[in-house]
Subunit: 128 residues, 2 copies
């Protein structure tokens, strides 16, 4: 089995980001958030969201004149999939190299650091 591999494109991810953060939205709302200065046209956003619906990335309620869209993909699942792809293509399969890189070039809060420590403890425990 195996679901067809879901790999949102850049534009699709932007839209998913809005839906994940804001919940269900109309095309107009999504477009206003992503293009406050009309960098690209309304019908562009519309078209992409229509295609995403065909692809099974979004679902919509079309009972109203303005259709209302929501994400089908869960944020974490999508992130995991993209992460796996990046690990394979750019990090030669080593997720830990990726972690080290990410830690090295970004800053973390105290809470985040202790969260990560806890995860490491957990991983070590499972190792024995």
């Amino acid at each position: 089995m195996k679901h067809k591999s879901i790999k949102p494109t850049g534009a699709e991810l932007n839209i998913l980001r809005v839906l994940w953060d804001q919940g269900t939205q109309t095309v107009r709302q999504v477009h206003s958030i992503l293009n406050p200065n009309n960098e690209s046209g309304y019908t562009t956003t519309l078209k992409i969201m229509q295609i995403m619906t065909e692809k099974g990335l979004l679902e919509r309620d079309s009972s109203q004149r303005s259709h209302i869209y929501s994400a089908i993909l869960r944020e974490e699942d999508t992130q995991k999939k993209l992460l796996d792809t990046l690990v394979d293509t750019a990090f030669g399969g080593s997720a830990m190299k990726l972690v080290v890189q990410a830690l090295g070039s970004n800053s973390a809060s105290k809470d985040e650091i202790s969260q990560i420590r806890n995860m490491l403890d957990q991983m070590e425990k499972e190792k024995s």
Copy 2:
């Protein structure tokens, strides 16, 4: 200012991976490694490597009949750039969410775990 943002495509990353791991290589060598069963043709690999050279991703020594290619991009730089992109597009800008995800769905060796711990220590130290 800023160098033009270098974002290798999937096929390009495969080639870079070989060059990073193996050092300088001919097209034939790269192609044999990536397509042991001839999934795609030799001229495909050739063409992509030629284009990469035009783009400034590779350089080549063409003094021999078989040109010898090497990567211009450093592995770490490329990884960092792709990581940043992924953090922006898929993780809403939070590198630590990415780290947590990556740790959660992958396993690390003892050495890696302690390397990560050391990095966390370092980060905490710098925080005070």
